[in-house]
Symmetry: C2
Subunit: 295 residues, 2 copies
């Protein structure tokens, strides 16, 4: 996805938030915003928003000396998600269509980062999202929820590359991966994390803390962009990306980086940002399962 002009005010908002989380005083915050303004001047709108996100968070790291400002937030997210795993499994066990519910849970798990910032009652919120979803008798209310082709692709796929998003959410990814393994234990599933700290994106340690190592091989994208941007990923990762029978991509950042990719990808995300929702053609806060099939 290209960068829209509407992303620009948001870049400054993100920079300010990250500066504060990194403990910058007002002077440093101002210097970071000035540096973002300068960097923006050179930034081509054809590039995707996570490319600018990467620049912003590198500036925050440079000016504050904090290598991983979101470390505590990620740790809190992991703990919070682990604490409601039982409840999530309960929802799964009481449903008729386990794969569908596991997909919905993995997408809804994206609200964990709202909870950490705003003290939402995540458990209640999750229940609400899922009950709204389950009350829809079919998929008519959904703009994009390609569960049937997702299911079919899963049956055929021997190798699956699963692109992770945020810490905490990782716990809900594990639920979906476990459901996939139940279909066929011989499938090779690889879970992708970021190479270095970037916002609250999951690193190898977060994936392990959430038990992903029990259900999948964990590899790095080779990049510290908050999304999968092919040009910034390692050759090794790109080889896996091209070779996998099926790619499951979680979250907005990975969608932004890959929405123009030439290969088939299943994008699973909550459309929290109005610009992304407009780009997809769905409503804000929609649960989206998009079967991306290039031309």
């Amino acid at each position: 996805m290209k960068t829209y002009l509407d992303c620009i005010p948001c870049f400054f908002k993100q920079a300010l938030e990250a500066s504060r989380i990194a403990g910058a005083d007002e002077n440093i915050q101002r210097r970071i915003l000035d540096a973002v303004a300068e960097a923006l001047h050179e930034f081509p709108l054809e590039a995707s928003p996570p490319e600018m996100g990467r620049v912003i968070h590198r500036l925050v790291q440079k000016y504050t000396g904090s290598v991983d400002p979101y470390l505590r937030i990620k740790e809190r997210s992991n703990r919070l998600a682990m604490s409601i795993l039982g409840k999530a499994m309960d929802i799964l066990d009481h449903g008729n269509d386990r794969l569908r519910i596991a997909v919905e849970l993995s997408i809804a798990g994206n609200i964990i980062d709202f909870g950490v910032n705003n003290s939402l009652d995540i458990e209640a919120e999750l229940e609400k999202i899922l009950s709204t979803e389950r009350n829809t008798t079919g998929d008519e209310d959904r703009v994009f929820f390609h569960i049937d082709s997702f299911r079919e692709s899963l049956i055929d796929a021997s190798s699956i590359l699963y692109l992770g998003d945020n810490a905490g959410e990782t716990v809900f990814d594990r639920i979906l991966i476990e459901e996939i393994r139940k279909m066929d234990g011989t499938k090779k599933i690889t879970y992708v994390v970021k190479e270095k700290p970037i916002i609250n994106d999951a690193l190898e340690k977060d994936a392990i803390d959430c038990g992903i190592d029990n259900v999948a091989e964990i590899v790095s994208s080779g990049s510290d962009a908050p999304g999968t941007i092919p040009a910034l990923c390692s050759d090794e990762f790109m080889e896996r990306f091209r070779a996998a029978d099926m790619v499951i991509s979680k979250g907005q950042g990975n969608f932004e980086g890959l929405s123009d990719t030439k290969r088939t990808v299943f994008f699973l995300l909550m459309a929290k940002c109005p610009i992304i929702a407009a780009d997809i053609g769905c409503r804000v806060m929609d649960i989206v399962l998009l079967h991306h099939m290039p031309g």
Copy 2:
């Protein structure tokens, strides 16, 4: 009020909105945002936000050639406000405390600009704001609503300087001014508009279209800032500002410019912006009547 760092993302949002209203294409929009970023670099945070607002809208005018991008919006606001004047008078005639309701109406009239942009049902919204207000038995729920000192000051004041805010809202200012005149027809009331087009702020023409010329003398602040910033106003205006027995200041922009002034001012505003609400110490969307008494 000084400029908070949180105002910076909002400056870009305002610039983008104004560029689009002025009909700029994507390229020009981008150039305007770049120019705002450059101007921001030099902007001292000790200055108040409307000073930057003025810079932004001058840039929009420069890059688009549009001298008054909000002209149609202002005209629509005036018509919309005139069309619900009857309803507003009805609310006033059925209340016990006419001055209090006239104050509330003049503040609530500030939502007109929401309506013009978002097609809210302004009449229903106005009724809602006022019924919520009237349901409060006292002023305990309000953080700042200094109606008693406002009433006392009015009784004593022979000359009143009334600082207008947006077009449309002007109609509701007229209601309050008429109520003040009913208390004592000999009071000299002066209504202040902006010198040149700036966002949707009322100009002399808007005040006349809303019938202000029947109830007050109309003068200009001598400035095109979207708020009253003493250093940018004409000497003639500042003479009036210092000499008036009472100053009534409407809206956020005038508050931002005058919140540190050395003279007594009554600020009447809806705290629509979270930063302004925090600066005042009230809640977002509160109806505020603040008796500002320096030192």
